[in-house]
């Protein structure tokens, strides 16, 4: 029982990332009708916002310590971060420690701008082109963005730890009456899950309870009619693209303490997120979220030793297996609108 519970918990954090990326993908597909293969790259850029802020905050000046020597026997160069020099050692160190949460504030404007530039600069020219063209151009863009990041940050993963307070794990099972040490769960993963629920709630709240959101939803349902009413729906959709980019970026920022980011992380998530969108139903926001969590949990169960012993290799194919079954039996996905992808 505790093993099952642990795998569900595990699936939830992975599912959180899938859900956030898939939510952005669906927003873009639902509003602009574009299949955006560069969405994984946006997730990766978000993660590198955290890396960048961490580098900026760690910018240091060098002093020479004559009492110690470096690996070549020369006097040791000691690096002191400007943050500690400006704000004092304690507060400065605390700012550096809290880099990842602080990166949220940094990433939102950056990602909005990246999203808007991407949409206005490139993707808008492909609205009337076939999906195959859109996929090619966005996939190409993803590769370009990935290579740019690699050029500046190198190919190796870059450790970006969570604040000291959230490192380590806690005995989640003990809270629910399981045996001690039966369900150990990392604190940051719990934070990530709660964070993603908050972002998802904020996006739904925004679409549901604001006039802007109402117009966007109306535009998703019938773009032409909304346009005939004199509303500039394209501008609103462009803003939605920026928001979708920001959602992917935030998912990336908060993911950095879970796995050290590298330039390739976007691609690792991209394909799975597309499966999530297809399973959830193209264009359905609740479907994307539901499918994200569902597939995260399924993947988690499929990676357990007993599942692998039962069906070797199941951990690698489970998600695609589900996608095949869903596409065969219910092509519009779990919560997709009737007619979408069924023609």
């Amino acid at each position: 029982m505790d093993a099952i519970f642990l795998q569900i918990l595990n699936g939830l954090d992975k599912g959180s990332a899938y859900a956030l990326i898939a939510l952005g993908l669906t927003l873009i597909f639902g509003t602009l009708g574009v299949v955006n293969f560069a969405h994984g790259a946006l997730f990766m850029i978000g993660a590198f916002c955290a890396v960048t802020l961490s580098r900026l905050l760690s910018l240091s000046f060098t002093t020479i310590d004559e009492t110690r020597t470096d690996f070549l026997g020369n006097p040791m160069k000691v690096e002191t971060p400007y943050a500690e020099w400006l704000f004092g050692p304690e507060f400065g160190a605390a700012i550096i420690d809290w880099t990842v949460p602080l990166s949220i504030l940094f990433a939102i404007p950056v990602m909005l701008v990246v999203g808007l530039v991407m949409e206005r600069g490139l993707i808008k020219h492909f609205y009337k082109r076939p999906h195959a063209d859109q996929i090619l151009v966005t996939f190409g863009l993803a590769i370009v963005l990935q290579e740019v990041i690699k050029y500046f940050y190198g190919a190796n993963p870059i450790p970006t730890p969570a604040p000291e307070l959230f490192r380590g794990s806690f005995d989640f099972g003990a809270l629910l009456g399981f045996e001690a040490n039966a369900v150990i769960y990392p604190i940051w993963r719990a934070v990530y899950f709660i964070f993603s629920l908050t972002v998802i709630a904020a996006v739904f709240g925004f679409l549901q309870f604001t006039t802007f959101g109402m117009v966007v939803r109306a535009g998703m349902a019938d773009r032409e009619t909304v346009g005939l009413l004199g509303i500039d729906i394209d501008k609103r959709f462009t803003i939605m693209f920026g928001i979708a980019a920001a959602v992917a970026g935030l998912a990336g920022v908060m993911y950095t303490p879970i796995n050290p980011p590298n330039y390739h992380m976007g691609m690792d998530f991209l394909v799975l997120s597309f499966v999530v969108v297809v399973v959830g139903g193209m264009g359905s926001l609740p479907g994307a979220v539901l499918a994200g969590f569902l597939l995260g949990i399924l993947e988690s169960f499929a990676s357990t030793a007993w599942a692998i012993n039962l069906v070797p290799g199941i951990n690698q194919i489970i998600i695609y297996l589900v996608a095949i079954v869903v596409l065969l039996t219910r092509p519009r996905g779990l919560m997709g609108r009737k007619g979408v992808m069924e023609e």
Partner: protein, 457 residues
Amino acid sequence: MSSSNYSRRRLLKTGAATGAALATPTLFTGAAWAQEQGFTNAPTGGTVTLGFNVPQTGPYADEGADELRAFELAVEHLNGEGDGGMLSTFSSQALEGSGILGKRVEYVTGDTQTKSDAARASARSMIEKDGVIMISGGSSSGVAVAVQGLCQEAGIIFMAGLTHSNDTTGKDRKANGFRHFFNAYQSAAAMGPVLESLYGNDRKAYHLTADYTWGWTTQESMQAATEALGWETVNNVLTPLASTDFSSYIAPVLQSGADVLFLNHYGGNMVNSLTNAVQFGLKEAQANGKDFQIVVPLYSELMARGAGQNIAGIPGSQNWDWKLENQLGEKYKGTNDFVQAFGEKYGFPPSQAAHTCYVQTLLYADAVQRAGSFNPCAVVEALEGFEFDGLGNGPTLYRAEDHQCFKDVVVVRGKENPENEFDLVEIVEVTPTEAVTYPHDHPMFAGGELGECNPGA
């Protein structure tokens, strides 16, 4: 949806063209390779070209970059530039800093992408287009085995870079291939006694293993070594090479009854699996009344940098470490000369990947010099059974039977309080050569034959 422009006729034509291209024989034709001297790419004129095939893109690109730095340095030293590095400490004094056999050394580089097919394609291009006489480098056993096979066919010497699978000099060994780097068996043999002294004889091990040749042989070697200590193996779970999140594999470990976790992972895999293991509290956990332990059989300084603080206290093995001579003395001479040359040029100490590539280049050049010929068969003869010293590892033997180097193995541990980003590992012990030597027909290395050396003509 868009309508497709493909007609059946066009599809058939495209298919036929692709089929024809794929069916074109890919075997090397003797005429293209053979030179009048009777071996492939025999150097004419005043220069000789070496090919350095390293991962310049992909997850091991930083490792590849360090290898390239080392190759560049080695070429400089061979041509008599710079401070000469290990040339002065190398026991064989055949090299004089005037190139190889009087020919100035030049080099070309290729990108393996850590993919066997890409590595073979780039090696093939270096051989056919650039006329290289030797290929070295690489950071994956899958790639090493593939490129070694190609070099054997082509009649080129392959001086392997970082490759740690038993198979490279085991079932996939080739007469034209040589490995200076140590292997999984040697890691396990070196780590066994250290693990016993650190964690005792009554332990239960759980393995997470990268699902390819290196992972399998590392796991097999570690399991054999620890079971010989009286440890029990609870489980071995194979993880896909492309995995990025290992939490689902890590989560069940504590409930399995195990009290030691072996991460048979390398590169990005290792960074992620170790980070996940630490996040799930394994480093602080208790199991079977003991402190839970994590072991990483193959260490790399570059990976340690990626894993950050998580590496602290975790044991593993290395082929070489830049602190060896400073800490363990004269026996490891050459180390400081190399670190000095590398550190002055690049501003940081070299990794073990850089070291093995530098040494391999020198060893090749020295063998040619001693043999008095670039003919691969002459080089093979000069390297087989060659005993040398002064290249940083202490006295070393290139065994004739399998072309594997035998030398001391360094057991290391992540440093608790590193002083800087290069000082991440501390040397725990150096296991002497005798303890890591095995018969060439050992079952873990069985199933392969060196065959005959191939000069290519």
